[in-house]
Symmetry: C2
Subunit: 200 residues, 2 copies
C-alpha cells in the first residue's frame, strides 16, 4: 500500500536508499531519526556530502582520494619508497593502513582487468603505475589485488609489465587466522594449498 508522505520526506527516504545495504525500512528509520533527533547532524551530513564531492579527486601519484594534487600518504615524506602496494580500491588501502604495519607507497587501480566491461590497462592507470615505480625507484611492488580470477589476471599482467624493473610479489592468500578450513571457499583453499611454505 503506497502511502502519501510529504514530498520532502518521501524524497529523503528515497535518497537514503542509494546507499549500499540501505533498504526502505532503514531509509525510513534514518530519515525520521534525523528529523526527530538530530537536525544539526542532518545539516552536517548534507554539508559533508557536498564538500566531499566538490573537494575530493584522485591523487596524481597513487589515484587514491586527495584534496590537493597529492593524498596524505603520497605527500608524507616519512613514508618509504622502498615498496609499493597495488590494490583494487581505496577501501583496500584503508584496510591495510588500519590492520598492517606497511609504511610504503600505494597505487589504486579502481577495479581489475575486465575486457568484457571495457576495462583495460588504460582504465586501471597502469602506465601511471609504471611511471611511479620508475620515478620513485621503487624496489618491490606488492600486488594485493583480490584473489579472484580477474584479480589474478590483473596481478599477472602487472607482473609481466614490471618484472624487468623491480621485484614483484603477490600478497599471500590463504585461510584467515582463526578461520576454519571448512568455512573457506574452494578458491581460497586452493590458494592456501598451492601457496604452502615448507616449515623449518
Amino acid at each position: 500500500m503506497a502511502m502519501k508522505l510529504p514530498p520532502a520526506l518521501q524524497q529523503l527516504i528515497d535518497a537514503f536508499q542509494i546507499l549500499p545495504s540501505v533498504g526502505p525500512k532503514s531509509a525510513q528509520r534514518m530519515a525520521l531519526y534525523l528529523l526527530e533527533k538530530d537536525r544539526l547532524g542532518a545539516e552536517r551530513l548534507s554539508h559533508s556530502l557536498q564538500q566531499a564531492m566538490n573537494k575530493l579527486d584522485h591523487c596524481k601519484s597513487c589515484r587514491n582520494y586527495a584534496e590537493s594534487d597529492l593524498c596524505p600518504i603520497c605527500s608524507d615524506a616519512e613514508r618509504s619508497t622502498e615498496s609499493l602496494c597495488v590494490v583494487e580500491s581505496p577501501s583496500d588501502v584503508l584496510a591495510l593502513e588500519q590492520g598492517v604495519d606497511f609504511k610504503g607507497q600505494y597505487f589504486v587501480l579502481y577495479g581489475h582487468l575486465s575486457p568484457i566491461d571495457g576495462i583495460g590497462p588504460a582504465e586501471l592507470g597502469l602506465a601511471d603505475l609504471k611511471r611511479k615505480v620508475e620515478q620513485l625507484s621503487i624496489r618491490e611492488v606488492i600486488v594485493a589485488t583480490n584473489p579472484t580470477v580477474e584479480g589474478e589476471a590483473t596481478a599477472q599482467f602487472i607482473m609481466d609489465m614490471l618484472l624487468e624493473d623491480v621485484v614483484v610479489s603477490r600478497i599471500a592468500h590463504g585461510i584467515p587466522m582463526g578461520g576454519e578450513l571448512d568455512l573457506v571457499d574452494g578458491g581460497t583453499l586452493n590458494h592456501a594449498l598451492t601457496g604452502r611454505r615448507v616449515m623449518s
Copy 2:
C-alpha cells in the same frame, strides 16, 4: 591505528556515523561508494537532507510531519473522522498505514509520559489532542502507544482525559510486550487493531 585521510573524506565518514546503526565500517563503505560509484546520488542525498530539514515541520492537526499546515493525511477529505489513532512516533503512523486498513485520523505524541525526563502532558501535546477530538467530533480514540510500562501509563492518562467525551480503546495485545509498534509485521498489527479493547 588512526589513519590520516583527506579531511573532506574523514568528515564525511564521521558524518555518516550520526545515522542509527551505522558504525565506522559502514560509514566508510557509504562514503567510498558514493565517491566511486554515485556522485550524482550524493548530490541528491545532500539536497534532500536540506530540503527535508527546511520544509518539514509538524502538522498543526496531528503533529506528524508536514510541508504545509496540514499533513497529507489530515488534509485528505476522504478520510473518516469517526476514529483517531494515537501513536508515539511518526514511524508508527507509517507502519499502520502500510500494514493496516485504517482510514481514520492520527495524533503523534513524539514519546510517552516520562516525568523523570521532564516529559509531561504538555510535551506530548495532549491539550491539542483533546481539542482535535472535540473539533472533529471523533467518536472513538484508539490508543496505540507501545505496550511498555510508559506506553501503558500514557494510555491510561489519555483515557482518563478523554473518557467523558468519546469511546477510548486500547490497541490489543498481540504486539509483543516490550516490543515496538513499528517493528511488527502487518498481520500482527491488523490483529492487534481489530482485537482492541474499550478502556474503562
